[in-house]
């Protein structure tokens, strides 16, 4: 049976070139970068080179790059770190209602510590209105965190515009760019951000390594105390292999970005067109301000998990915002924030394309999905034909 992976927003395979770049740093060049001997110098040089590469792609300085253990850690470091370091200036934080849980749960935790959080609504395609950010600002607002591109529906937020609104305020501006990395422009000056999160495994790098960009002059309190690693912003012996892999993967992604984005966008559009031709379906998210690899469609009268199981039987890996897959009793908070009803949100299907996706894969999915939807509808007490 064919195996077609269409969940690249969840994670991606490590590219062979990336793995090759990493391999020397496990057993041969295993040194702790903090020492003074040759093993350490080799490790340190590799890390410096990786830091330079990441800084170049972000339009940043090398000392503004902090390597972490994941995207979630970077989000936590950004939000808790900035909130704690600026708590004498105020207690108000602004974020959106469609953030990743690494941001939402962190904000909710800060609320329990006495901070106040405004969760901005989004419109029907999942866009945050910069005007609403402006209106939510208070004299005691210390932090704004808005994601660059949404992981479920692929909507791209007006980060640069929001950043320019915040320029004359004391608020630190963080963006979770985990889904944007490798795909959209990450230039931190164009984006007007102070803090930016990326995670290697979303762009064909290894799992367990991320970056937090910290603009010079932006104070953050560390989460992990210990040695003086990462300029005292993140203690712990550096994961040299992971860091080298992250940099290599990011570099390759940006070398190939234009051609790969165009290729994926064409395939994505075919999928959106084909799936939305199924009766009682709707495309979620913006059709224009959208990641080139994201497809998110709801099919009425059916539930997402049973759709995923059927697709898995046909060899297709996909994801859904149904309650069964969201880990709670409610379906996706993103779809609900966009105004979808619970009933419809339960029937969502997310397909995310990547480097391995071919025209044949798209043809196969477009051939397999309609009969599955039809079969599940025939079984559904909600469906009346």
């Amino acid at each position: 049976m064919q195996r077609i992976y269409l969940d690249y927003a969840a994670t991606t395979p490590v590219r062979p070139e990336v793995l090759d770049a990493m391999l020397p740093y496990f057993s041969n060049e295993f040194g702790n970068a903090s020492g003074v001997y040759s093993w350490s110098r080799t490790a340190h040089q590799a890390m410096d080179k990786a830091r330079d590469t990441v800084a170049r792609i972000l339009g940043a300085r090398p000392d503004e790059i902090v390597f972490t253990g994941s995207g979630s850690e970077s989000d936590n470091l950004a939000i808790k770190g900035a909130a704690w370091a600026n708590r004498h200036k105020g207690k108000h934080i602004i974020t959106s209602s469609i953030e990743h849980f690494a941001v939402l749960e962190t904000c909710q935790w800060l609320e329990r510590q006495g901070f106040e959080v405004t969760y901005l609504p989004v419109d029907s395609v999942g866009l945050v209105d910069p005007e609403q950010v402006k209106q939510a600002l208070r004299p005691d607002t210390i932090l704004v965190s808005i994601m660059y591109a949404n992981n479920e529906v692929g909507t791209i937020q007006p980060i640069s515009e929001i950043g320019s609104i915040l320029k004359d305020t004391q608020a630190v501006f963080h963006t979770d760019a985990v889904q944007a990395a490798g795909v959209l422009d990450l230039d931190v000056d164009k984006l007007n951000v102070d803090l930016l999160t990326i995670s290697a495994h979303k762009f064909y790098g290894p799992k367990g390594v991320g970056v937090l960009y910290v603009r010079k002059g932006t104070n953050i309190e560390p989460l992990i105390h210990g040695g003086g690693h990462e300029r005292k912003r993140r203690a712990g012996t550096e994961n040299i292999a992971g860091i080298v892999g992250l940099a290599k993967a990011l570099e390759l992604s940006y070398e190939e970005r234009d051609t790969e984005n165009a290729r994926l966008e064409a395939l994505r559009n075919q999928l959106i067109e084909g799936l939305s031709a199924i009766p009682h379906s709707r495309v979620n998210g913006s059709l224009t301000k959208r990641l080139p690899n994201n497809v998110n469609v709801c099919f009425e009268f059916i539930e997402g998990e049973s759709l995923l199981l059927n697709l898995d039987m046909k060899g297709v890996a996909a994801s859904s915002g149904s309650a069964c897959t969201s880990g709670s009793l409610d379906p996706s908070h993103v779809l609900l924030a966009m105004g979808l009803s619970h009933e419809i949100a339960h029937g969502s299907l997310r397909l995310t394309l990547g480097r391995g996706t071919t025209q044949a894969d798209i043809d196969y999915v477009l051939q397999e999905v309609p009969p599955i939807v039809e079969r599940l509808r025939a079984m559904s007490p909600l469906y009346r034909g």
Binding site: E303, E305, S306, L309, A323, H342, E343, H346, M379, P381
Partner: protein, 122 residues
């Protein structure tokens, strides 16, 4: 995460459909939480002679609906009423813990259908 038996019933659900002249109909769940089960029964001489279901829900919801139609077919109403959600889960070689509560409602739907029959035949 699902047993082979669950996957079998999910892939090849038994007794899907409706009964036009049903003796009783039971429905539980709601679309908001993502699971609705509807069961139709035909009763003759106090025995379930035909049973059909339609379900909107996850793999567990469909599999439990399917297997309960097999468990209830040919049983007297008193016997069928004794089938518990736990027995349904056991007949499927177990369900993942998160599914025990939200998607294991088939026995409730069957009891609703039996209650509906009894009400109609007061």
């Amino acid at each position: 995460m699902y047993s082979e038996k669950v996957m079998d019933h999910f892939q090849n659900p038994r007794n899907v459909g409706e009964i036009a002249d049903a003796s009783g109909i039971g429905e539980v769940g709601n679309a908001r939480c993502g699971d609705i089960m509807k069961i139709w029964i035909k009763v003759e001489d106090n025995v379930i002679t035909d049973i059909k279901f339609k379900t909107f829900g996850c793999g567990a919801a469909i599999a439990t609906s399917s297997i309960i139609t097999e468990m209830a077919m040919g049983k007297t109403l008193d016997e069928a009423e004794q089938i518990t959600n736990k027995a349904v889960a056991e007949a499927l070689d177990g369900l993942p813990p998160v599914k025990m509560h939200c998607s294991n409602l088939a026995a409730d739907a069957l009891r609703e259908a039996i209650a509906d029959y009894r009400k109609r035949n007061g």
